[in-house]
Symmetry: C2
Subunit: 339 residues, 2 copies
DNA sequence: TCGCGGAATCCAAACGTTTGTATTGACGTT
DNA sequence: AACGTCAATACAAACGTTTGGATTCCGCGA
């Protein structure tokens, strides 16, 4: 069993005091360059790794960065999250830090978890998704001066770094594509109200639908295949069979549900029903018909979030990073209707 | 700024010593039942949360459990991993612990990361995926007496808990379904050699293919859509167009690649080409034709892994948990050939 | 009346860092 | 030669918890 090396061991071999060693390692100008040099040498020779617990206790950084997974992000495998976790972890490890994951099971749980993280010093920083316009979580973090980065903007923009996918643009892309086929009804299936990305999707979609458009209906549902199916079924049941129905789904999973509902209702996507998805899941290209969707460059988004978090931690005085990524249309055919 | 509550605060209001409070909270029989009662009351009234750093420093457990994501698990969103992370996190939090994620970027990185975890006391336990028969990582962990659970058995079975998906059964399911349509060639697309699940898949597939069978070819490739496509393209190019080709893919992503290759090669899945996938990705049901695959009850697997890890940590003397989950066939049509 | 056992509680040290302050010693100034 | 300055380092306290051992106080038996 290899013994753990501490400051004491370095100090022992060099006949110095731990405090000197500590300062040397943190590049305190008060230690003689030569001494510092020696300390660094023996530290790496002995394989010294700072004790995170002791640091945290003392009030220093914990060397940990937290990611809070919001429900139902964890119920399905949205392609971006493992990408984010992986990218973030790699860079954290490069800077001697560690990645901690928290997964709220419901929205109610989140404030408690965040309080624990902040007050319990469970991490030095936090990556927060699913923002709301007036996000209490964000307010709390700002009030407590806790470093964090959001995935999605908030009303507190300018007071924290954020990376956002332009969901208004996504809504526009979907609706424009769908309207080109001249449907009789347009339905927008978005996530529950209050969530920034979902609200933006709706407003972008509505904006694109203004003017000489068919009637538009907004549906706010959780992001699951199941609910996509249920909702689409209700839509189909309420319409005359001859009606040409267009569905703008904020996410491919929902669109898959709509596919299933269409099959059950004797409808056919591409003929009397058109569907637009979102996020470009792995199977969407091969769906029947191939699912039109938008794509969001997961790797780039993950990279930006990571960069924003590290910048926030390493150079606290720097300006807050803030980027918006535009989704790109992936037109595959499911947005079309037979003439 | 809410102040953090510590033992001191409880001790203060009750006019007790912190040590008594500490013992009371840990249900030490030495404290008077009445006192203990009062301590618990004020503790929850004040919202006391133990300081993990202090505990860890004291030499106790770190309160952290690590998950090591092996490449390329993180390059695509295999549905099971977020499920695992989420389930694990919930139970860890219930027991006052925290989840730490490590993501190796390549297999070479793994031993170093594991060494850090073990020797740096970065966690109390580890969940390890992608086992090999004679896994050096597992050997190292056993030698160092570090608690861990594997996803997939090893040659050291009996010396550590493990949860396994029966990939031999999965291979059997795929090949049996494919052979029923009497293809002229059978190809097995599995992950690189050495990985337990991939080897099991191949052996199960081969076993099911013994006897009056068409020629069988094994392909060992990484689990990506890209490589599935490349491999399938090569297979198609090498065969006469009239040949009826069956592809057993260990995972749906690969199968998607095969779909694409078939389209490019002027073949049609369900006519002259049959495909079987694995893991039942969200879009597979809606593929054209619907992808036959096997399904693995992600939630149950995640639950068992979690349970095994917690058992290992909380009751170190208990027998090691060891479970095998059988995949179930999901026959949707892509495994068929036109007569 | 004294001492003893035991229950309940308190005291103090320890974990590995960080950091404010004290100490040392060399050097330059007067 | 005495003194102040400054660089370099040492000392010690603190973070919140756990735990071995000391202390207090009670009732009881001798």
């Amino acid at each position: 069993m290899t013994q753990r090396i501490g400051l004491k061991d370095i100090a022992g071999t060099l006949e110095l005091d731990v405090s000197t060693v500590s300062r040397a390692l943190r590049r305190d100008p008060r230690v003689h360059p030569e001494t510092a040099q020696a300390v660094h040498a023996t530290a790496s020779a002995l394989g010294y790794r700072p004790n995170a617990a002791a640091r945290a206790l003392r009030g220093g950084p914990t060397g940990r960065v937290a990611v809070l997974l919001s429900p139902p992000q964890h119920r399905f495998a949205s392609p971006i999250f493992l990408e984010l976790l992986s990218t973030l972890e790699r860079h954290l490890r490069d800077s001697g830090r560690t990645l901690t994951v928290f997964a709220a099971q419901s929205r109610d749980e989140e404030p408690g978890i965040i309080r624990d993280i902040v007050q319990g010093r469970l991490a030095d920083g936090l990556v927060l998704g699913r923002t709301r316009q007036n996000d209490e979580r964000v307010r709390f973090l700002i009030e407590n001066g806790f470093p964090f980065v959001t995935f999605g903007r908030t009303a507190f923009d300018g007071e924290h770094p954020s990376i956002e996918i332009d969901y208004a643009e996504a809504g526009r892309i979907a609706v424009e594509a769908l309207l080109a086929a001249r449907p009789d009804e347009l339905h927008i299936l978005s996530a529950p109200e209050g969530q920034r990305f979902a609200d933006n999707y709706v407003s972008g979609a509505l904006l694109a639908a203004t003017g000489a458009s068919p009637p538009v209906v907004i549906h706010r549902i959780e992001l699951t295949e199941e609910l996509g199916q249920v909702t689409a079924s209700a839509i189909f049941a309420a319409a005359r069979p001859a009606k040409r129905i267009a569905l703008a789904c904020i996410q491919d999973l929902m669109a898959f549900g709509a596919y299933r509902a269409a099959a059950l209702a004797g409808r056919a996507v591409g003929r009397d029903t058109s569907v637009f998805g979102g996020q470009d899941f792995p199977g969407s290209e091969h769906a029947a018909p191939p699912l039109s969707t938008f794509s969001t460059e997961d790797a780039r988004v993950a990279g930006l979030l990571t960069q924003a978090m590290l910048a926030r931690l390493d150079t606290p005085d720097a300006a807050f990073m803030s980027e918006t990524i535009k989704p790109t249309a992936v037109l595959r055919g499911s947005h079309l209707l037979a003439r």
